[in-house]
Symmetry: C2
Subunit: 313 residues, 2 copies
């Protein structure tokens, strides 16, 4: 790979890596477009060259958004599928098929989850939704389009404010929204009949999502508001990958631009909600309880390029 | 009172009413200066005229900051003390004495609370502090000046961001601060040995403080971090006044300047922490438990001008 190609790929993946407002499934859909862009007009290049470029993009995407399981699975499937391609047309065919299958799986999954979530939205009720999850948005808009009337309460989700994106999208879809800041959750939740969150990855210890999800979960349990995480099975990862989210800290300046000397800023993006704080995980196979999770923690092969470095002691 | 005097008094109290960053005791200290300003150069006016002006200021202050018990007690004491003054010099004397006594009581109380809180700050520990309370700040700086080394974690306290004021003041006082946004409380609290909050008023159901205090309290209980409210006895009010804080909503634009159509903004300032979520109330008489609170809910006379309107059914 030439330097200019490396730079070009870095530029291609950058908007996805810098995106703090989109949910995991949405980022995976956008990564599909990145792989397609890299493959375009590459028929005259050697298969090894194209493979290297796709691998490079996959590594950057997984490293740049370490909490996002659907992005990891997409990249992993792409890299595995092209590993043994002998010609460039074969490689492109295989990659494109993987991308098509993955996109179809994601869309089918979102539709099934939306149907499963429909029953959890009581007519005339106020439901809470946290952060921005395209799966949650689809479920809410699907229920509205089926004629169910309800309102949604949401909060900002500092510091990226993706809660405003949620409010804007829902209001545009004809759903009345009540919006407040995150620390006022406790004032609005008592009026809600259910709360929904998306999630970025799932393993045995629980689900990882935007920071603040844990506070929401604890508040929901205190107030006896049932909390559901909506997530397709592409969110499951092995336990060893779950805590990768802890490496995804952002600059302190995004929280407080000019903090005085002596003040250290913590800008972590995710937290972990243990299963015992959730009333259910709404997946394309229905609403799962903690006991059902084990069987979904399927084994999968990890491509060499995406294997985690062993921890050095 | 002439229109120009009414307007002048409105302008005098406005900075206190619009202040969303100061704690209750701090606002009361600033109100003392307002009463003194009104009394200045009034020797040539009739006592009834000066009394009306002081009453007007008192009513505006209590109505404009309905959650702030120390402000209510100050105004109530001032208005009661001047009620039977027959000459202007007598009125000014009585008012000044009330102001002096109140200021002394507040300062003595803060010093005693700081000493009581000292024992709750473990050497070398990280303690959490929420929102801005001059009582909490005094306690932390007092401990530091006594040579106790510890660090403080705090969050922004959206939307007024008085958490930044707290971080700035503590850092300037030589205390290392770790600062993050409110929904990340759950990430920093597990590392804290204790959490402190101020409070704006107290009655039988619990303590009222900046919104988010309830979330902090629920998180602290979940994580077994002891939570203490620091408050002098000037914070106690009758139960009928406790819920006055609910009337203190602020414009939605302070949360989201240009929210789209269909999105309603909730900008409430306070919430209620029930006693069972607190490990103790640190007062000038020591650390009180829920059972001790009853005896501090002393009766007090309320001046006619400050009586609450009966609720109409």
């Amino acid at each position: 790979m030439s330097n200019s190609e490396t730079e070009w790929i870095s530029e291609l993946v950058k908007p996805i890596i810098e995106d703090l407002q989109s949910g995991a499934a949405e980022l995976a859909l956008r990564a599909i477009a990145v792989f397609q862009t890299i493959m375009a007009n590459k028929a005259d290049q050697a298969p090894d060259e194209v493979r290297k470029q796709l691998q490079h993009a996959g590594k950057l995407l997984v490293a740049g958004q370490p909490a996002m399981a659907p992005l990891f699975h997409l990249c992993n499937k792409v890299l595995i599928s092209i590993d043994d391609a002998k010609t460039t047309p074969e490689l492109i065919d295989k990659c494109q098929k993987t991308l098509d299958d993955y996109e179809k799986m994601l869309c089918d999954s979102v539709a099934k989850i939306a149907d499963a979530a429909f029953e959890l939205i009581e007519p005339g009720s106020l439901v809470f939704a946290y952060s921005f999850s395209s799966t949650v948005v689809s479920a809410l808009l699907n229920a509205r389009s089926k004629g169910r009337y309800f309102r949604v309460a949401c909060t900002e989700a500092r510091p990226s404010m993706e809660g405003r994106k949620l409010a804007t999208v829902l209001a545009a879809g004809g759903i009345e929204v009540i919006h407040t800041f995150d620390n006022a959750m406790g004032l609005i939740l008592p009026n809600c009949t259910a709360a929904f969150m998306g999630c970025d990855c799932i393993a045995r210890p629980g689900v990882v999502n935007k920071v603040g999800s844990w506070m929401l979960a604890v508040a929901c349990r205190e107030l006896k508001v049932p909390l559901y995480a909506l997530a397709g099975s592409e969110k499951f990862v092995g336990d060893e990958r779950l805590f990768e989210f802890e490496s995804h800290d952002r600059p302190g300046e995004e929280v407080w631009e000019e903090a005085p000397k002596g003040v250290r800023i913590l800008n972590s993006q995710f937290d972990l909600v243990p299963f015992d704080l959730l009333n259910g995980l709404v997946t394309e196979s229905g609403v799962l309880k903690e006991a059902d999770v084990e069987q979904h923690l399927h084994k999968y092969d990890v491509h060499e390029a995406l294997k985690l470095e062993p921890v050095a002691f």
